[in-house]
């Protein structure tokens, strides 16, 4: 309380550069988006016109369905794969575990346009090292693969290889913090390996898995790059408004309607925050403290 005046000013001076960026590139765009969503293209007040126009647009439902199908495939895949492989690697330990974790983590370096390009090759029979498997699955060309419901599957494979390894690192680290006394007590009580996994380990990594689902959901709903890049090679198979974000971009650039683009972006954001809130409420993410568990 009796600090000299200089010390009062110090934290604000230290924070100043960051606060400017926070205002200009964090808060302002969000506020601006809300503002624009209530404006007509001629900058007059539009009321809810943009919001209703978006909801009435015939392209919205297909794009929501596309992204929904993709998330419906991707999120369970991540949950099963990351949980399973982390437990397996942790149970086993040793060199095979370390080498596998390294192998799972490396593809995280190949993202976005490069990942799209790489997986186009991986899924083209003839050129792909997985050709025999592709032939078994009855895929004879890239066109085959991307028509119909193939695209969500391709995107799921792509996103899983890119992000699973990083989350395995996180979950594995969390498994290392299960208190040894508890494992010891379970062993003394005669718990089977399955019971230890089910009642101790799985419970312990719940915060990390929730965090994974929240951020994967948020990033998954925003998908843009991958379908956009796949489209540049397969224009007639991948629609230019395949994902919700592509549709928002379409409103902004093809229609010049920033109001509709902004309201769609905000709806998407709202869904992401809502789901985050639900997952946080349903799990003990804050109670246990995700970061404490990961040490």
């Amino acid at each position: 309380m009796t600090q000299p005046r200089k010390r009062h000013a110090a934290p604000y001076l230290f924070l100043a550069p960051y606060l400017i960026f926070l205002a200009v590139f964090g808060v302002a765009p969000a506020v601006y988006a809300v503002w624009v969503s209530f404006e007509t293209p001629e900058a007059a007040f539009a009321g809810l016109a943009n919001w209703t126009a978006v909801l009435a647009d015939a392209r919205l439902l297909p794009s929501v369905r596309n992204v929904g199908t993709y998330l419906g495939l991707w999120l369970p895949t991540m949950l099963v794969l990351v949980t399973g492989l982390s437990l397996l690697a942790h149970q086993r330990g040793g060199r095979l575990s370390a080498a596998s974790r390294f192998a799972w983590y490396l593809p995280g370096a190949v993202t976005g346009a490069a990942a799209a390009l790489l997986w186009l090759f991986m899924l083209s029979p003839g050129i792909s090292p997985f050709s025999p498997l592709l032939r078994l699955a009855g895929v004879s060309s890239g066109t085959d693969l991307l028509s119909g419901q193939g695209l969500p599957v391709v995107l799921t494979v792509m996103a899983t290889t890119v992000t699973a390894g990083g989350w395995i690192v996180v979950v594995y680290a969390a498994l290392n913090t299960v208190p040894p006394e508890i494992l010891e007590a379970a062993r003394v009580d005669g718990a089977t390996a399955w019971q230890v996994t089910r009642y101790i380990k799985l419970r312990h990594i719940r915060p990390q898995l929730s965090l994974m689902l929240i951020s994967s959901f948020a990033y998954g709903t925003q998908i843009f790059v991958e379908p956009q890049v796949l489209r540049s090679a397969f224009t007639s198979q991948v629609s230019e408004t395949w994902s919700v974000n592509q549709l928002a971009y379409f409103f902004a650039t093809q229609r010049g309607n920033f109001g509709m683009a902004a309201s769609l972006s905000l709806m998407l954001l709202g869904v992401g925050l809502l789901v985050a809130a639900i997952v946080i409420a349903k799990t003990d993410l804050y109670a246990t403290g995700a970061r404490k568990g990961a040490r």
Binding site: A10, P11, Y12, F14, L15, P17, Y18, L19, L22, F25, G26, P29, A30, A33, V36, R92, G93, L96, S97, A98, S100, W104, P107, V110, A113, A114, L117, W119, F121, M122, P129, G142, T161, G166, W167, V169, Y172, A173, N176, P180, L183, A193, P207, S216, A218, Q222, V225, Q228, V229, T235, N245, Y249, F258, S265, A276, A290, R291, G293, A294, R295
Partner: protein, 309 residues
């Protein structure tokens, strides 16, 4: 770290005496699952490393997981350079410039901000922390169109700043650094420095910076990766393809040549599958190297649950 050793010790001796044989079989199945999944994850990367060493014919006839020849690698390179007269190298320089610019700017603001949030109690501290958390959760893609409109107003569209400045805004780094200082720099140490007559700025320079090195290193790592992988942002902000970064350039390469879909986008340029693979390799190369270097830090689990996907 002590927990790590302790728990591997307990899991190394899981045998409870019953069911030796099923356990043995289970362990073999587990090893096979790990090996197969590891192979599935790594084979695409191996393919990417090897593909540019092949001719187009050899690559499409299935000999893709072998090393071709240096001569063919050289040919892939010179073919790739015919695209826009070495445009790929320009994109590489742009990507490096944008990413390093973003890292330097973000570290300049992250270090003092994280330090101040952890070392001082002041009105508005909670507000800043909450705003940081919220902007951290909002995917950047959601803000890109409003950012675009903002940049139009600021007349920065199609300039490098329209990409560098938003990439430098990295709330995740502020949060990470704040947590780190909170746990690792006792306030009493700063208090002692004050008693010795150090100014607030002096205390930050001689205590905060050196003791925060680890968190700042991680922030730099994540910020670089994030900036390098930017696609939507430059896609919206830039129209001159000489200013593109590699991610955006790669898409331009795919769409303007028949590199991926031979039945489409035919040009006279010799850009085919090996050249496209080489371009993709250039795009991911630097990140791959950074991942290799960062691997031992990540394995130690220092970043813990705070990692974003």
């Amino acid at each position: 770290m002590t927990a790590l050793h302790a728990s591997t010790a307990t899991t190394a001796a899981p045998d409870t005496g019953s069911g030796r044989l099923p356990r043995r079989a289970g362990s073999v199945v587990g090893a096979v699952v790990m090996l197969v999944s590891a192979a599935a994850f790594v084979i695409p990367l191996l393919w990417l490393l090897l593909a540019p060493t092949h001719t187009r014919d050899r690559l499409t006839s299935g000999s893709s997981l072998t090393f071709g020849s240096f001569a063919d690698l050289g040919r892939s390179w010179s073919n790739l350079m015919t695209f826009g007269d070495g445009l790929v190298l320009k994109w590489l320089a742009n990507s490096l410039g944008y990413s390093m610019g973003a890292v330097v700017l973000s570290l300049l603001m992250v270090a003092p901000a994280g330090y101040a949030l952890a070392m001082y109690d002041f009105p508005g501290r909670r507000l800043v922390l909450n705003a940081t958390l919220v902007t951290m959760i909002i995917p950047q893609a959601a803000l890109i169109l409003p950012l675009y409109l903002e940049m139009v107003k600021l007349q920065l569209i199609d300039s490098i700043w329209s990409v560098v400045l938003p990439s430098a805004f990295f709330p995740f780094g502020v949060y990470l650094t704040y947590l780190y200082y909170n746990d690792n720099l006792p306030r009493s140490l700063v208090e002692a420095a004050r008693l010795d007559g150090a100014s607030e700025w002096r205390a930050f320079l001689s205590l905060g910076l050196p003791l925060g090195r680890q968190a700042l290193g991680l922030t730099g790592f994540f910020c670089f990766v994030q900036a390098w992988n930017q696609y939507f942002l430059p896609f919206v902000m830039l129209s001159d393809d000489g200013r593109y970064n590699l991610q955006l350039g790669l898409q331009t390469l795919i769409s303007s040549t028949g590199a991926v879909n031979p039945s489409y986008g035919a040009t006279t340029l010799p850009i085919h599958q090996p050249e496209a693979a080489l371009a993709a390799l250039i795009t991911v190369g630097p990140i791959l190297v950074i991942f290799l270097v960062a691997q031992r830090y990540l394995r130690a689990g220092q970043i813990g649950g705070a990692v974003k996907g």
